[in-house]
């Protein structure tokens, strides 16, 4: 995890922090940009003949909402889901609907649940991921496909086990987001 640590020695840390503040533009743009990259970039690297790849954009959305609950607004599913739809191959509207519902569900659970830890967060994410993939399959089948359910089972398992890794990635993005590199006059 050393690679993710941006301030190496305490001396460096204090020297860099005095008179500096995080840039508000970077701090606000990184969550949006990273989720959009999660939707856009993975399909470039493999021409898949089976739906095995986890929906990385969705995993990042859930991870950002769980790491920083108030950072993305409740309506974030609309623009981010629309962007995902342009590249995902699902009928347009699939992402807008399901991502919006996921954000609302996360927000409601987050407001009601009195405690949180790694296992509950993972369980909640696993439930959302399973629901998302199964509903996406149903919507794809409504729009002309005839894919059997067992074809998405490996994808669901892979996505659930990849989620903590995506969480670590989002945490690294979050540390980068709040780096104080803007000079305060």
């Amino acid at each position: 995890m050393k690679a993710f640590r941006f301030q190496s020695s305490p001396r460096d840390r204090f020297r860099k922090r005095i008179n500096r503040a995080p840039s508000p533009l970077v701090a606000h743009a990184i969550p949006w940009a990273s989720i959009m990259l999660g939707s856009l970039v993975p399909p470039w690297f493999v021409i898949a003949s089976a739906p095995l790849m986890p929906p990385v954009g969705f995993l990042m959305l859930v991870a950002w909402r769980q790491l920083r609950p108030g950072l993305l607004p409740v309506w974030a599913g609309l623009p981010l889901g629309l962007f995902d739809d342009l590249y995902s191959g699902q009928p347009l509207g699939n992402g807008v609907l399901l991502w919006s519902l996921a954000v609302i569900a996360l927000d409601v659970v987050e407001a009601r649940l009195p405690w949180r830890n790694f296992v509950t967060e993972w369980l909640l994410a696993a439930g959302l991921i399973t629901a998302y993939i199964v509903l996406s399959l149903g919507i794809a089948n409504l729009s002309g496909g005839f894919t059997a359910f067992q074809i998405v089972v490996p994808q669901i398992i892979l996505s659930i086990f990849l989620y903590p890794l995506v969480g670590r990635m989002v945490a690294a993005f979050d540390r980068f987001r709040l780096l104080p590199f803007r000079k305060v006059s």
């Binding site: 898949a48 790849m53 309506w75 009928p91 919006s100 609302i104």
Partner: protein
């Protein structure tokens, strides 16, 4: 309980903000449902939007496509070293057989050309465009790919896309410099095929997991065997006959499950071919009606 910075408490302003952000979230879901209904009723409704989006990301897609091909080559070079000896002997034997077959095939092709010239059939096989697969849907159960050629290169919807090894799919939506291809492994794709050696007619339908379901047209005793090669039959137009599609890997009760011959992941370049539509030219000139009436007194 929400963290203290997100509890609205008695602040009327904070309460309204929370309330309206929830309303916006629910509105987002409603907009999504509306968009979804439109795109299910009319699947090509947002084709232009998707085309424009694909055009924007064409350049990075092309760069990673090159990297992907290089990566595949690197892995196959490494695995090649481990199997060099046994493979060499096998390939020598196969090459000898193939050379004989090739000579025979040349003779057949020559004969074909002469017969076709006799009948006056033109076979223009020049592809519309030669390009690369830049990306494919990875997490959706629908199987689409994007190629780096669009209407600017003369690509139109319906054109078949193939690689050196065989059929990959057909063009579904066209952007300015990219197009979206429905891969043959998608469950909506249906390709009329025939067995290469004797012409048993069938349909090859995608199963969504990289394999194809071969459905025989004439039901009865299943004549298929493991290893049978299927090529496009050309019926219905669209796909030029004789393009290799799939090889049978498993015989089922009423057909077979086949493996795609051209793995889209391993192809470097793809060819976009013109739509193949056999047009039956009328042999006899139609009678001219005007002359007919003047002949009768």
């Amino acid at each position: 309980m929400a963290p203290s910075d997100r509890r609205s408490g008695y602040s009327r302003r904070a309460q309204y903000t929370t309330f309206f952000s929830y309303i916006a979230g629910v509105l987002g879901a409603i907009v999504g449902a509306a968009l979804l209904i439109v795109s299910i009723v009319n699947p090509s409704a947002f084709a232009q939007l998707r085309g424009a989006a694909a055009d924007v990301t064409e350049t990075p897609g092309r760069i990673t496509a090159n990297g992907r091909v290089a990566g595949n080559g690197f892995i196959s070079v490494i695995t090649g070293y481990f199997r060099a000896g046994s493979q060499n002997a096998e390939l020598r034997r196969e090459l000898k057989e193939a050379q004989i077959r090739l000579a025979e095939a040349d003779a057949v092709a020559d004969e074909n050309r002469r017969l076709k010239a006799l009948l006056g059939i033109t076979t223009d096989k020049r592809p519309v465009a030669v390009t690369q697969l830049t990306s494919s849907t990875g997490s959706s159960t629908r199987r689409f790919a994007t190629i780096g050629a669009g209407s600017a290169n003369g690509v139109a919807a319906g054109m078949p896309v193939r690689s050196k090894e065989g059929l990959i799919g057909r063009v579904l939506e066209v952007g300015a410099s990219t197009s979206r291809v429905l891969l043959v492994t998608d469950t909506e794709s249906l390709v009329p095929v025939r067995r290469a050696k004797d012409g048993v007619a069938a349909f090859a339908q995608g199963r969504g997991d990289g394999s194809l379901q071969i459905r025989l047209i004439n039901l009865g005793i299943n004549p298929l065997r493991k290893g049978d090669i299927f090529v496009t039959s050309g019926s219905g137009g669209l796909y030029r006959p004789g393009t290799a599609v799939a090889a049978v890997v498993e015989v089922t009760r009423d057909g077979a499950i086949a493996r795609l011959l051209s793995d889209p992941a391993a192809t470097e370049y793809v060819l976009v071919e013109p739509i193949w539509a056999p047009t039956a030219k009328p042999r006899v000139a139609p009678p001219i009606i005007g002359q007919d009436t003047s002949a009768v007194p």
